[in-house]
Subunit: 188 residues, 2 copies
């Protein structure tokens, strides 16, 4: 099994040799260039992406061309334009590779088949989904209760890699603040 | 099985008579008064609540006593202070019954046992969780991309019951806008 898949299940679930082989055969390796669009706005997200190396950004675009970053996925994380992937509807969000990325890609139908055949994998997925849901709840909390400074401090504490690794434009946009406000906060 | 539980699984999964009985035995009936606190801030949420009648509100309190509504749960919906319930940590949020409510209550350990014994129920839960996660993603989208008027229009379209059923204070707070802005938007 691919080392990134090993890491995903390591210490969490037990798999037979047959199950490992089946899982490995469903995840296809893919590389993405810096800036490459993996899911375009208006198309259906047909895959979920496990980030082996690099970073994916899921963002929204306004009518005026403005961009709002919804999520960032770093190494070891799995994601896609989730509402589109699950509901089989055109995506309102765009999925882009922010850096040169190595990915493992799983299709919707292979995912269904894997969950059907490998129960432990579905349980592992469900528990991961609960944590993703908690992260989104905490994101909502930070958006409804914190001001710019508090959001920046929380980001520094919980996900410092976002601050030091990504362009200021993306960080400001993720926090929902202007670049000027961000550089003022960084200065303090 | 309780009619509210029937409705939860109806047309989605097949259950044996034995499984129905097991599920029914795990959900305990509970009534809550208007304003009653079900999970206090700082305590651990030990149950998940299915709303049979009434409405639950999950909200955050600021140091200055201000309240921010994170979620509202109406009839047929299930929820709790989710991060606390899953992570077994003190809750940052409060769960309150906004109206006189009839609830069905499931403990953490009974939930684990049910998922272990009734696989179809876990699959049904996982699919519901995916939809809850999508709803939270859309809430994040609305918070990062919409202004007060757009958020109000989206709420009217997607969850009109929130607007006509709940006090203006709660609606304004859910939208993250002032009551003055809300009554101005309603007037238009």
């Amino acid at each position: 099994m691919h080392p990134a898949l090993e890491k995903m299940v390591e210490g969490k679930i037990e798999l037979s040799a047959e199950e490992r082989e089946l899982i490995d055969s469903c995840f296809k390796a893919k590389t993405a260039r810096r800036g490459e669009i993996l899911v375009a706005k208006g198309s259906i997200a047909r895959h979920v992406y496990l980030v082996v190396k690099g970073c994916l950004r899921i963002f929204l675009t306004g009518d005026d061309g403005s961009e709002s970053t919804r999520f960032l996925l770093f190494e070891g994380r799995m994601g896609t334009a989730f509402p589109s992937f699950i509901l089989r509807q055109p995506s309102v969000a765009t999925v882009q590779s922010l850096e040169p990325s190595e990915l493992l890609v799983l299709s919707y139908s292979d995912r269904e088949m894997l969950f059907e055949k490998v129960r432990a994998l579905e349980i592992n997925y469900r528990k991961g989904l609960e944590l993703d849901y908690i992260a989104s709840i905490q994101r909502i909390e930070s958006l409804i209760t914190m001001d710019a400074k508090q959001r920046y401090m929380a980001l520094l504490e919980n996900s410092p890699e976002i601050v030091w690794r990504l362009p200021a434009r993306i960080v400001a946009d993720y926090l929902g603040i202007s670049q000027e406000t961000l550089s003022r906060l960084k200065g303090k």
